[in-house]
């Protein structure tokens, strides 16, 4: 590992050799343990260290990333990046004024986490996956857990310096059951949905009793699904648990509000957006019950941070208030390009990618209904839990999503379990059919480390928190 002193020294040496320069040094160490059917499948450690520099020459910005952190490696990267900026000066879409990036004070969070002893940590995971595998009709069970320590240093030639340190925990627990010719999978709230930012003392601290109880529940529910009929077809009121609301918010609010999509950057890959610049402040995105925020400060949520990768201070901003679209998800560059209000979300996957507009924590704020009141209000409906399948068009309008587990609601009561629950709708119609929002007692926080976007491609960690929500007359259906 290269010392930060070397990074500072090289930065000082190079910072006056172009019009504006930044260094973003990342040091990210992760340990992953995957247990399947009671034994270790893999124990992997990743020590990811590299540096991304931004070089501006006469308004032309180019990015250069390198894993070669030796003085010669950094100098070579700088020369190649400066050359790229010079070479492309006349054909850049935008030119940037470096002074718009501002100056910032340092901030450092708490330091390293991780389990104190690896052996007992691994043994516990193997016990848990053995417990899952030992359930009736269970074909296979797995548990994957990772912890990650990240520290970043951002330096700019106009005096900016930001240090950030975070610890994160990632967790996925699932099992597949088989009975006759039926196969069903049940997980702990979805694929790596139990991922969060952690305080150091909590890292790796598995709760034996709670985790065993979760395993019992998953075994029981997969057996319910194996014997259940398919979800019925037709329009029904749809109650969505927070572990499906996470996906619903992500795909049909988060992505369409990204300003770089609206500006067309993503058209060739992830797609465009049905939202137009003139829609901000005018479009009734959802019913008046809908309030959605960009909130990078919610404690424990996966994508909480102090500054984004352009050095902008991250603060809570309303995106949708009382159903009205008020702000988009665009960082400093997109705000300059579009003239629209945005947020601090200019983020890169790692040191090897340039930042782009990303979600961070996008949360739906609690309402006033209790879960019991919402169920009691439904004559004919379905209560769906945990995302399993997702597909949406390239304008983020027409979608079809599937869940792992559901129960029918009949005459105000939860009744039988149904398998393969799916639903489809269109974004604006769907959010305007929102007829009740659960209160704070139904609010849950989830995260995913796997949001994909960008050219070159990038995955990024995002968080989503939501109460249970009720939608009117949605097309639902089952499996084959």
């Amino acid at each position: 590992m290269q010392s930060q002193e070397n990074i500072y020294n090289l930065f000082k040496l190079l910072k006056d050799s172009c019009d504006w320069l930044s260094f973003r040094h990342l040091n990210e160490n992760s340990t992953w343990h995957t247990s399947r059917d009671g034994r270790t499948e893999a124990l992997d450690r990743v020590e990811n260290q590299g540096l991304m520099m931004e070089v501006v020459v006469e308004g032309s910005l180019a990015y250069g990333g390198t894993s070669d952190l030796s003085p010669e490696g950094l100098k070579a990267c700088f020369e190649q990046t400066r050359q790229l900026a010079e070479q492309l000066g006349k054909v850049q879409l935008n030119r940037f004024d470096p002074s718009s990036r501002g100056r910032f004070q340092s901030r450092t969070d708490s330091s390293s986490g991780g389990p104190k002893e690896l052996g007992p940590w691994i043994e516990f995971h193997n016990q848990l996956s053995a417990k899952l595998k030992g359930g009736p009709n269970v074909l296979s069970a797995s548990l994957a857990v990772g912890w990650q320590d990240t520290s970043s240093l951002y330096l700019t030639s106009d005096g900016g310096q930001i240090e950030q340190t975070y610890q994160k925990l990632f967790r996925d627990q699932r099992l597949t059951g088989s009975l006759d010719s039926t196969l069903q999978t049940r997980s702990d709230h979805g694929y790596f949905a139990q991922s969060c930012r952690q305080e150091s003392e909590a890292l790796g601290a598995d709760n034996f009793d709670q985790d065993m109880a979760t395993a019992e529940r998953l075994i029981s529910e997969v057996n319910e699904l194996l014997r259940a009929p398919d979800c019925p077809e037709g329009p029904r009121d749809l109650l969505l648990a927070p572990d499906q609301m996470m996906l619903q918010i992500h795909e049909s609010i988060g992505h369409p509000l990204e300003l770089d999509r609206i500006l067309g950057d993503e058209r060739n890959y992830a797609g465009w957006s049905f939202v137009k610049p003139e829609d901000f402040g005018r479009l009734q995105y959802g019913s008046p019950l809908l309030n959605v925020v960009f909130d990078p400060n919610l404690e424990g949520e996966l994508a909480s941070y102090e500054f984004d990768d352009s050095g902008t201070k991250a603060e809570k901003v309303y995106l949708i208030r009382n159903g009205l679209l008020v702000a988009g998800l665009g960082g400093s560059e997109s705000q300059l390009r579009s003239g629209l209000k945005g947020v601090a979300n200019f983020r890169a996957q790692s040191w090897n990618r340039a930042p782009i507009d990303r979600m961070a924590n996008i949360n739906l704020e609690p309402g006033t209904s209790s879960l019991e009141e919402m169920i009691a209000s439904v004559e004919k409906g379905v209560f769906m839990h945990t995302n399993l399948s997702w597909s949406i068009d390239d304008y983020r309008n027409k979608f079809q999503f599937g869940c792992e587990y559901a129960r029918l609601i009949e005459d105000g009561r939860l009744t039988s379990v149904v398998k393969n629950p799916n639903y489809r709708s269109n974004t604006i119609a769907f959010w305007n059919s929102l007829k009740a929002v659960g209160n704070a007692s139904t609010f849950e926080v989830y995260g995913t480390p796997h949001c994909g976007k960008g050219e070159p491609n990038q995955v990024i960690q995002v968080g989503h928190a939501s109460p249970v929500c009720l939608f009117k007359d949605i097309d639902v259906f089952g499996g084959s």
Binding site: D44, Q49, L93, D265, R267, S391, Y395, N457, S480
Partner: protein, 444 residues
């Protein structure tokens, strides 16, 4: 411009590490390295320009029937790299102590030596950008141009030594007229301006067709033609565990019924893993060499699945050089009898689909797939294109679409190199013809 590690330097680093092993320790080194330049375009101008040098080394240490892995990143100095790796080895030794013996342990072996290097002639980036601007005066272009060398290499302390180096480019772009768009793609080792301009012109021609009046298509079942790019999207989903023997045994393969022999596909359909083009390394991350050809589906019947050595040990099967994830690396769909020039006539009345988008399983164990149409998709009647359609959602069983409803495959095939750039660029290839399918199900 490249400062990538050379084969001799990598060998030197490896030998210096192998010399530090003790007892029954065995070490395997897997290198993925690239020096890439990415130009992202919007409105035919450069939106973001990035160059990245990265060298990711995975160390796999084995001892006493246990193994653990660690990834670290390399620089250009042998001394510093050695120091980084020695520190990693110490961490791996501690990690091994925390593990129980692996019942499905596969010991490192010497699977031989190989070396391949594909060089490239790449365009001048300023000239390329200026060319684009001059050639797209009346259309709007968005996309990604990517170039540069990539290395995949594997060495182990038993004597195995594989090196695969490929310098290449791809340009994945789309042209827009308002919200109507057509997709273009040009890739290879030798940039030839006239070839690129031909691709650009053909995409412009397709964009012209999109100016025909929009055709309203109601949800329902239609005959449709999946052009090779759309077929690649549809069949690409089978890479999500479809051909994995491990996933099949654990109930996660959409092709379970095919390999259980409770279902079959059209006798016209044959798929194979085929490395004969030499554009993808045949060695996996353990250095095992896959056969040049593995029949996956033959005449509509399940043939072989992809089996890694670890899965083979667990389920007492025969390994066939598959990667850890047991997904295809170089898929070939065998052509059919339909000449591409007669596609519209054979389609007669239905949908011509150039591309699909955002596919996912809507019922994985039963092989049901959903997704959207995207880009230049047309309504065809009387064997003539009538006009573009609005995006449609499909939700269809692969056992119907590739079974009784598969009318034919085209005689001509197209090659699709892997353009994924998540974390790093990757090797991979799919060769497929177009697919003519009857009674394909489209939803509201």
């Amino acid at each position: 411009m490249s400062h990538l590690i050379s084969h001799p330097s990598f060998q030197q680093l490896a030998q210096s590490l192998f010399g530090t092993l003790t007892g029954d320790e065995s070490l395997s080194l897997h290198l993925q390295a690239e020096h890439s330049r990415f130009l992202r375009f919007n409105q035919a101008r450069v939106r973001q320009a990035t160059q990245v040098l990265q060298m990711r080394l995975t160390l796999n240490l084995q001892a006493a029937g246990r193994e653990a892995k660690m990834d670290c990143y390399l620089g250009s100095e042998l001394g510093l790299n050695r120091q980084t790796c020695l520190k990693a080895l110490e961490q791996l030794r501690r990690n091994l102590k925390a593990l129980a013996p692996d019942p499905y342990f596969v010991a490192h072996e010497n699977h031989g030596q190989s070396s391949a290097c594909h060089s490239a002639v790449l365009p001048n980036l300023t000239e390329l950008s200026q060319l684009l601007q001059s050639q797209t005066l009346h259309v709007d272009l968005a996309g990604l141009y990517c170039e540069g060398p990539m290395i995949e290499a594997q060495l182990n302390s038993k004597g195995l030594d594989h090196w695969f180096e490929n310098n290449s480019f791809f340009f994945d772009f789309s042209l827009y007229s308002g919200e109507r768009a057509a997709k273009g793609f040009y890739a290879g080792h030798q940039w030839r301006e006239e070839e690129f301009l031909a691709h650009l012109q053909s995409t412009k021609d397709q964009l012209q067709l999109l100016h025909l009046p929009l055709c309203a298509v109601s949800p329902g079942n239609y005959r449709c033609y999946l052009a090779p790019a759309a077929a690649y999207d549809f069949l690409g989903l089978l890479g999500w565990g479809g051909f994995s023997f491990g996933e099949y045994k654990r109930g996660q393969s959409c092709l379970g019924p095919l390999y259980d022999k409770t279902a079959q596909l059209s006798p016209k359909l044959s798929l194979e893993e085929n490395f004969s083009k030499g554009l993808v390394p045949r060695f996996n991350s353990s250095g095992e060499i896959a056969p040049k050809r593995i029949a996956l589906i033959e005449g509509g019947l399940g043939a072989e699945l992809l089996v890694s050595s670890k899965t083979a040990k667990e389920y007492q099967a025969q390994a066939n050089g598959a990667s850890d994830y047991e997904s295809f690396r170089s898929l070939k769909v065998l052509p059919g009898q339909l000449p591409s020039s007669e596609v519209l006539k054979a389609l007669d009345r239905g949908l011509y689909l150039s591309q699909l988008h955002y596919l996912n399983y809507s019922d994985r164990p039963k092989g049901r797939i959903t997704g959207m149409t995207r880009y230049a998709c047309f309504w065809v009647d009387g064997g003539q294109i009538q006009g573009p359609i609005k995006d449609l959602r499909f939700d269809e069983s692969l056992y119907r679409a590739l079974g009784d409803n598969l009318i034919d495959l085209t005689q001509e095939t197209e090659l699709f190199p892997n353009t994924s750039t998540y974390d790093s660029r990757g090797f991979g290839l799919v060769e497929t013809p177009g697919l003519l399918i009857d009674d394909f199900s489209f939803k509201a």
